[in-house]
Amino acid sequence: MATEVKQPGEHGEIEAALLACAAGDKSALRRIYEAESPRMLGVAQRLLKRRALAEEAVQDAFVLIFRHAGRFDPERGAGLSWIYAILRNRALSILRDEKRTEASDTPIAEETASEEDDPETVMAKLSDASALRACLETLSPQRRGLVLLAFVQGLTHGEIAGRLKLPLGTVKSWIRRSLLSLKECLG
């Protein structure tokens, strides 16, 4: 994939908004919210399956984005990936929290994901233009499925092993090898 060349000092809207957040400008956070919250809620919903938890993840993420905006360094990464990293970290930690303390009969991990979150459906929705899609296609459907389950539904090695009835060691080494071939393909 052609790496985007960015001139130092030239930032997109998200980056500019993050820099304003770092200076304490709440209206900049609101701009990010307007632009990204529906997609963020969608991502959190895929991971957490329950709407109340997904909203909590998005809510916490925005508080964290504002509080930590000063640590965002546009020279080291894109604003959007920084924001989604915060959201995903928060959602995953809520997910692990819920699983750990779960008292209900239907553990969150076993709660049925909607068909839209199925690995092959997600694959089909990936933009044709994305380098990731082309490279995922070089993997066998099963191995591709492991990578997608982990990312899209937030499953751990152990949960993937349980769901696909594979030994844990196999899952770990398949994912590792899939990542390395992806890396080679993506460049």
Binding site: L29, H68, R76
Partner: protein
């Protein structure tokens, strides 16, 4: 705990570990180690950023959901710190009742009454202290309940002891790596509907009293230690990796 991963990584190892992290596969001590590496290892951080950019295409496939109308106001409340359980705001001391009648005023102003009251109070305190000393001393030494906090790899990292007089303490059993700018926050959870509550924040692993003042305390209550920013979790809930956790059991 896998200190083996803390040293230099070969480029393929680095990229695989960065990929596992971005996929969200890591947990516990492994996650904590990777987050530490992110701050110190530029190549590793760059590899993580590359994975994030590639996998962003997958986040873009999530069907957007319109947030509920009140979500923004909840965020604003969070920014204002309103969500955190605010310490009781009553700082103003209660004012002594103003004397209404002259008889009350006389009594109120009587040195004799107050001397007597002070003396009686002091005497009662001394008697109570003598009587309670033995009981307290016994109660102090014997914990009522104990929770052993285990790491992800089942190493006992700390114990939490609760005592009859309401004291709760945490004693570390392992040194815990705390990166600069971070701290260890201790949480307890007795009811999932309420969520975890912070009961202590320490800069490094050391014995510390836990503040459970008005919180319930019972058997099978969860205690856990997470890695948080030095000033504590900004959200009032655990945000960092779990270092160790365990539940209380009653002493026989």
């Amino acid at each position: 705990m896998s200190p083996s991963r803390d040293d230099q990584l070969s480029p393929p190892e680095r990229d695989a570990l960065a990929g596992e992290y971005v996929l969200g596969l890591l947990d516990g001590a492994e996650l904590a180690a990777v987050e530490r590496r992110l701050d110190t290892d530029r190549d590793f951080a760059a590899s993580v950023e590359r994975w994030r950019r590639h996998f962003a295409a997958l986040d873009a496939t999530a069907p957007p959901i319109t947030p509920p109308a009140d979500l923004w106001s909840r965020i604003e409340a969070g920014l204002a710190g309103l969500i955190q359980p605010s310490a009781s705001a009553s700082v103003t001391a209660p004012r002594p009742a103003t004397a209404r009648t002259s008889r009350f005023a006389d009594w109120w102003n009587s040195l004799f009454v107050w001397r007597g009251a002070a003396f009686a109070g002091a005497l009662a305190t001394v008697l109570l202290a003598v009587g309670l000393f033995g009981a307290l001393d016994r109660a102090k030494r014997q914990p009522l309940m104990v929770a052993v906090l285990l790491t992800d790899s089942n190493i006992a990292a700390a114990v939490v002891n609760t005592f009859a007089d309401g004291r709760v303490e945490m004693l570390p059993l392992q040194s815990i790596d705390v990166p600069a700018g971070k701290a260890l926050e201790i949480w307890t959870l007795w009811d999932r509907a309420v969520g975890p509550r912070s009961v202590g924040l320490i800069d490094r692993a050391r014995s510390t009293p836990l503040r459970l003042d008005n919180l319930p305390l019972g058997r099978d209550q969860l205690f856990e230690i997470t890695l948080e920013p030095a000033s504590g979790s900004p959200t009032g809930r655990p945000t960092g990796p779990i270092i160790a956790k365990g539940t209380t059991s009653q002493r026989l």
